[in-house]
Amino acid sequence: MDEQAPRLAVWKFASCDGCQLTLLDCEDELLSVAARLEIAYFLEASSAPGPGPYDLSLVEGSITTPEDLERIRHVRRVSRRLVTIGACATAGGVQALRDFAGVKEFASVVYARPDYIATLDRSTPISAHVPVDFELRGCPIDRRQLLEVISAFLAGRRPVVPAHSVCVECKARGNVCVMVAHGTPCLGPVTQAGCGALCPSFNRGCYGCFGPMESPNAAGLNHWLRGLGMSTPELVRIYRTYHATTEPFQRAAEEAEEHG
């Protein structure tokens, strides 16, 4: 390996490990990626972490504990570029549902001695605490988009990741619209592309795991979804899952409640 090879670090906060696993799921590319950069810190894959600084840090997971609040600041200090990977790091993840209920109640449901558990009231994205150079969406992220992000940073350019809705991907795949043809409720019109329109390809409505697209018209979609038989609680729940605390999906859930 070239001594000047850029140094990559992969960090984990509150998460399922799936987004960092996506890097190991690049079976055909893993060894060639490993030849182009030095994988300096990746605990999931190696027991020999190298010291910082790092040229590119990929950060998975949300901030939920006092220690992690400190740790993310450290990660920022030792990283030239910091990219968040996935819904937890980018939007707080499914664990951000605590924000709506109160973490004390949540802890007492799960643990007999909640006082042993150190946790923050809210689950927050990385960008709430430190500057982020790029946010890659998805629960989980898409393998091809991850490779694009790594290639772009190696080349010193912005990643080419589309900001349009899942509907565009459905059209590109030649899918029949599940909402029009089958009356299946679908969040595709308000959800950012990236998955390749997976759910509609399986006759399922999109459930929004890539988060809101730029300026979505959720009020318009809600009207349509109600027409397809979705109740107000169902509407609220579908927005309050993996990107519950993003501003557009918060507003969409509130709009559903107001018109329910």
């Binding site: 984990k12 906060f13 509150a14 998460s15 399922c16 490990d17 799936g18 987004c19 960092q20 696993l21 996506t22 190991l24 799921d25 079976e27 055909d28 893993l30 060894l31 490993a34 990746f42 605990l43 999931e44 894959a45 190696s46 027991s47 020999a48 972490p49 504990t65 992690d68 499914v94 664990q95 549902l97 605590r98 973490v103 109640e105 949540f106 802890a107 007492s108 449901v109 799960v110 643990y111 007999a112 001695r113 042993y116 558990i117 946790t119 689950s123 629960c139 989980p140 998955c195 997976l198 759910c199 390809s201 399986f202 006759n203 399922r204 459930y207 795991c209 729940r237 899952t241 993996y242």
Partner: protein
Amino acid sequence: MTHKTVRIGGLTRVEGEGGLVVHARDGRITGLELRIYEPPRFFEALLRGRGHTEPPDITARICGICPVAYQMSACQAIEAACGAEVTGPLRDLRLLLYYGEWIESHALHVYLLHAPDFLGYDSGIALAADRRDLVERGLALKKAGNELIAVIGGRPIHPVNVRVGGFYRVPARAELAPVAERLRRARDDALATVAWVAGFDFPDVEHDYRFLALSHPEEYAILSGGVATGDGRGTPEGFAVEDWPEHVIEEQVPHSTALHARLDGESGYLVGALARYALNAARLSPLAREAAAAAGLGPVCRNPFRAIVVRAVEIVHACDEALRILDGYTEPDRPSVPVEPRPGVGHGASEAPRGTLYHRYRLDEDGLVAEADIVPPTAQNQARIEEDLRDLLAPRLAPGLDPPETELAALCERAIRNHDPCISCSAHFLDFRLDRG
């Protein structure tokens, strides 16, 4: 009601961040704590009030390495609560999906996480610098598993095509043909993997385990079955999945966000590959049984370092059984069976790659989740892993011996990895502290 959930319930990290603290006085271990400080995410609490269709997708997010296991245990628990059952070709499709996860997860563990321990490397990537052929074989195996999951589930991590009652769409026979082709090669690679890992140099250790695994009269249980327990001698005991709460109690320990599980009052039982093999080896496919015999495994394996051989045998079995189902596959006439919500309780368990994964849900009159209880494999194994570590360290800490801490730390990391507790834990054991007083 809340009180009851608290006692049994407790979702912990399936994969987590951990450390180990050992206290020794005069050559005796006076305290040993496997610390799991993965931040809690409170899944059992956030599931309350969700629709009966939602737990398979939401609980998949507990673990990116074994999401299918979570989906399958969740689906079966909810179907049981609603009085529905998925059988025949739809159940076969579920098995196929699950075999894909076993192949993917085991190949990852064997090649990238565990084998480097035996060969003196820090990672699979470092191993690839010297033995690219081996790592490429492992990655090809892993890819075969991932492709099987993707063709049925849509994507390998958090598949989208699983629903309570079955699937959203079933694959056409033609879609599965290329996967079958790859699986045939994978089966050969899996056999070569067994022969390869069987030749490793294993520390001479045996533990007297109490095993727990699902057991099924016709299958090497993965998707469903009764619960079997035993020490590998004589006839195993057993109980039905719906009696799980009477036998397995979880308790909280201060040093961990994972709860410790006790079986019939005793702590330290083992789930996972060694347990499945000890209780169910007779129902492995003939090819997998041959491979196990050639690898010298015997009817029961009590050496945790050899779990890598058992996992390799399970990859052979998963490829073999997946091919059997694929060869006889005809498209089911409908993608799912109806599951009408009703108030009640349902239990579901399946064999995640790392061991038995139990779910219980109580649904209310509106078909919403009123209570959720999830017992992941790592919570069950945590106490037993601590005992493995005690057994391993005790003779090395005897008075007069003074092995370097780095050596002890490396040995402990290996002993933990033997049980594939979780992917980040498996390589994240740097925080080793030894207090000799």
